[in-house]
Amino acid sequence: MMPSLLILIPLFVIMAINLPKHTGRRLAFYLALALFATQMILAVFHQKLFLTNEAVGIDRFFRVDLSIDHLGVVALVCMGIVSISSLFVSRYMPLDESERFKFTNLLVIMSIGMCGIVMAKDIFSLYVFLEITAIASFILIAFKKDIGGLEGAFKYLVLSAIATVFMLLSIAAILLVSKDTSFAAITEALKVSGSQPVVIAAIAIFLCGLFIKGGIFPFHGWLPDAYESSPAPVSILLAGIVTKVAGVYTIMRITMLFGSSASINNVLLLLGTLSILVGAFAALGQDNFKRMLAYSSISQVGYIILGIGAGTPLGMAAAIFHFFNHAMFKSLLFVNAAALEKETGTVSMSKMGGLAERMPVTGTTSVIGILSAAGIPPLAGFWSKLLIIVALWQAGRYSYAAIAIFAGVVTLGYLLTMQRKVFFGKLSAGLDDVKEAGFGIVLPSVILASIVVLTGLLFPFIFQSFIIPVKELLQH
């Protein structure tokens, strides 16, 4: 088995659903579902299947080699779960069949892009796949073609183009000292000339580009607009996985590639903390719950960045664990947002209230998601945040650890406010005939909630079997 299958199979799926005109359309949903499931299985069992040192078969054709490591597996599994949730939710959106078909196509293209980002071992290929993901996102954000979506897409397009320019300048500057663009060659070149000003500037602007892609504090302007204005299944994708793979996973990769230096760590810690605080306080003042969740996303990504910025193997392991948890609870909350938007027809929290009795499942799962996001034991979010704080403490960054704890309180504050406004209290006028959203929305919501609970309860097992190995792997 070969990693390049992960990007080749989706291409065949696209061909398969587009060539036969009518059967393809009907089968698109099931084929895409099967595709994401296959991707997850391939990712989970990669150790048995992929860990051969020689390139075999199709991999020999792609001489720029792809590889999956522990970080990659986590990202691939998150991708599979979130894509499946989004696919289910898309069945319940007011789209006609041909639009749904286009959506499925774009979803598959996006998954090619993200698989490529996760597995690329060449900085320029990384850029190409980032661009594929970004272009699929522009189209998906603008999918409904309402003015908000178009504006969100255009903002994202402009900022993403700026990020691209930064990254390309940085790649060109690195080519001044490096033989070619593969990670191995760059590592080699940095050993010789890592301290030259040009190289340091190149690393800095590359990271700036990634900060834009990830929506980290000074560059977060596009993110709430894009999340808020995109159709529900798309905001699940964007919030759950796309910006995380494009902006956060790549930061992990790049810091591992360039080696963590004190100055990079300081910048990451500072921006991470600012993202946490800005995101949390901005979320406090929102009435639109999608927008609130978007700000909450900025704040949670800040935690992941803090974990990376701790600069220790434990920090990195904690960061990837929080990456997984965030993908789960944030897409859970966005799935619930989709259910609420579909049933009540509004996104304004002040117009809702008392929905817990009408939508018991949605209400319960969203409590689970909220508690996990706020870091309440024994849910998954608690453990990853605890690990991040421990990593910061061990690295001697006491003040950052303290801010991280403090921001947890704010997070709990705004999320509980939302829960109270939407689900508790008296039923608001005009919401009498609200009922539970359809099976396709409730199912992913329940599955995601159980993953959140199980990850929390099985934490000792995960710690032993996942975090410790990752930590040891990174120590070498």
């Binding site: 178009l150 504006e151 897409a153 255009f154 183009a161 320019v165 390309l168 001044l176």
Partner: protein, 107 residues
């Protein structure tokens, strides 16, 4: 008066890259028109292309940078086409391409 050693070449091409970048970013910041923002992005990518080719020329690997630039050009075209599509859709909804009209999402 014609530079020929690597540092001088890098200085000359780097300077012009920076000038183009400044022009592009300036346009991006002050413009109020949708399409002009896309033109600004184009100018930025032109600067990047120039820099790539110059790096290939200076360090003696023009084959590699050429291959990379071709990919960049393909990406650029796709981005411009999508941006044009968004602009046309906005125009159909709004009858104007003024970015300032599009601030419903601010805040």
């Amino acid at each position: 008066m014609t530079p020929n050693n690597p540092s001088e070449l890098l200085y000359v091409f780097g300077s012009f890259t920076i000038l183009l970048l400044v022009a592009g970013f300036y346009c991006l910041v002050v413009t109020r028109s949708f399409l002009r923002a896309v033109i600004a992005i184009e100018l930025l990518i032109k600067a990047v292309t120039l820099f790539f080719i110059a790096v290939g020329y200076i360090t003696g690997k023009p084959a590699l940078t050429q291959a990379l630039v071709i990919t960049v050009i393909v990406v650029e075209v796709v981005v411009v086409v999508i941006a044009g599509g968004i602009a046309i859709s906005v125009f159909r909804k709004n009858d104007s391409l003024d970015i300032t009209l599009l601030n419903k999402l601010k805040g």
